[in-house]
């Protein structure tokens, strides 16, 4: 029978390095998936997934075990995602100002073409962060709303509301595109 995450954490705390590797191997794909769906490129997702594990292991003694290790790891990952998206938004804002002066006209045409090509993807990208988090955690990671609330540090009701708003916006985008 496989050891639980808690048992592996205990072994890691006692100096067992193989427990560290086992925990990473067990959760690396889901953490990377979450990071990728939030940031939408491999380099950022890989970097952020790595940071999430590093933070988790460096601060494993502060983990109170009120939730599962996976939920705690997701919390760390989402916090990192929020920071990365905030930084990115700041950079994009600066870049857009420069782009408006320097970019040729066909750049905007390509962007518009891409938007038409993948309306849904674009719509997900433009969702508010909290709605997007709820959507990703629910649709791709199959978390219950109670757990999503823990991961997002909000109530279950707020998690549900965020998710419903996200789905509703996507529905409208999709219907407008098809109509």
């Amino acid at each position: 029978m496989a050891a639980s995450d808690y048992q592996l954490l205990d072994r890691y705390a006692a100096g067992d390095e193989s427990a560290f590797e086992e925990l990473v191997l067990r959760h690396q794909k889901t953490v990377y998936d979450l990071a990728y769906r939030m940031l939408e490129n491999h380099a950022d997702a890989a970097d952020l997934a790595q940071k999430s594990f590093v933070q988790a292991f460096l601060h494993h003694r502060s983990f109170k075990r009120e939730s599962s290790f996976r939920t705690w790891l997701y919390q760390i990952c989402l916090n990192q995602c929020r920071n990365a998206l905030r930084d990115r938004a700041r950079l994009v804002h600066e870049d857009v100002e420069e782009l408006a002066l320097a970019a040729p006209q066909d750049t905007f045409a390509e962007v518009a073409k891409s938007e038409l090509k993948d309306r849904l993807g674009q719509a997900i990208r433009t969702l508010p962060a909290r709605q997007r988090e709820a959507l990703v955690l629910r649709v791709y990671h199959n978390h219950a709303f109670a757990e999503i609330g823990v991961i997002m540090s909000c109530s279950e009701g707020t998690a549900k509301a965020n998710y419903h708003h996200a789905v509703d916006k996507l529905r409208r985008v999709l219907m407008a595109g098809e109509g």
């Binding site: 560290f20 590797e21 990473v24 191997l25 690396q28 794909k29 990377y32 998936d33 990728y36 769906r37 491999h42 890989a46 997934a49 790595q50 940071k51 594990f53 590093v54 292991f57 460096l58 849904l120 993807g121 997900i124 959507l135 629910r138 649709v139 791709y140 709303f145 549900k160 998710y163 419903h164 789905v167 509703d168 996507l170 529905r171 999709l174 219907m175």
Partner: protein, 202 residues
């Protein structure tokens, strides 16, 4: 149930997140309302399409190396933290003790030097060769730097030796060479009474 109420329950209905009684109510409404059925189908399509958006797999090599990258990054951060944090509490404690020891050693050295300097005069007095009073047959020689007790003005110090008569053989040669110096040296060894007697002899 009204269409607006159904709209609110569309997602929970599709997510199987409703009480069984509510599920029955929604299903009954959907069976009789084409508009709500279309709405429900649209939302279902959204969920299907969203779920179908896959994340590209970075490959086996990436997954194999990932734990090592995490470990490497942790080691890097820990070494940086150690460097930035400076010495540990233990190191700081013993560093403080060593510093205190050095300070004490320096203070003790200074104390020794000052004490030696202060005691030097007394030591010189105690070890200075006595005038030839105690060494009969040799002329008295006075070092230029030797302090003159007569200059110190303390009577008690004068009363150490009862000066012999100037005509004594011990003092005679010295007296012949430099009477002033001999007189001064004598003064360092006599009490006032003897000095008076000496001066009277002169």
């Amino acid at each position: 149930m009204t269409c607006n109420e159904i709209k609110e329950l569309t997602v929970p209905y599709l997510e199987l997140d409703l009480e069984p009684s509510r599920v029955r109510d929604v299903t009954t409404h959907l069976n009789g309302c084409a508009g709500c059925r279309a709405e429900m189908e649209a939302v279902r399509q959204v969920l299907v399409r969203v779920k179908g958006m896959a994340v590209p797999d970075p490959g086996d090599q990436f997954w194999r190396e990932f734990p090592h990258r995490v470990r490497h990054e942790m080691a890097r951060l820990q070494s940086t933290a150690t460097t930035l944090a400076g010495p540990s509490r233990y190191q700081r404690f013993w560093g403080g003790v060593v510093t205190a020891k050095r300070t004490l050693a320096l203070a003790a050295s200074l104390l020794l030097v000052v004490s030696a300097w202060l005691l030097r005069g007394q030591f010189d007095e105690a070890t200075a060769p006595a005038p030839s009073v105690s060494q009969p047959g040799q002329p008295v020689k006075m070092a230029a730097s030797q302090p003159r007790r007569a200059d110190r003005g303390q009577d008690s110090e004068f009363a150490t030796v009862d000066l012999p008569a100037v005509v004594d053989a011990d003092w005679h040669d010295y007296w012949e060479v430099d009477p002033d110096a001999a007189l001064m040296e004598m003064a360092g060894h006599v009490d006032r009474q003897t000095m008076d007697r000496l001066l009277a002899d002169i």
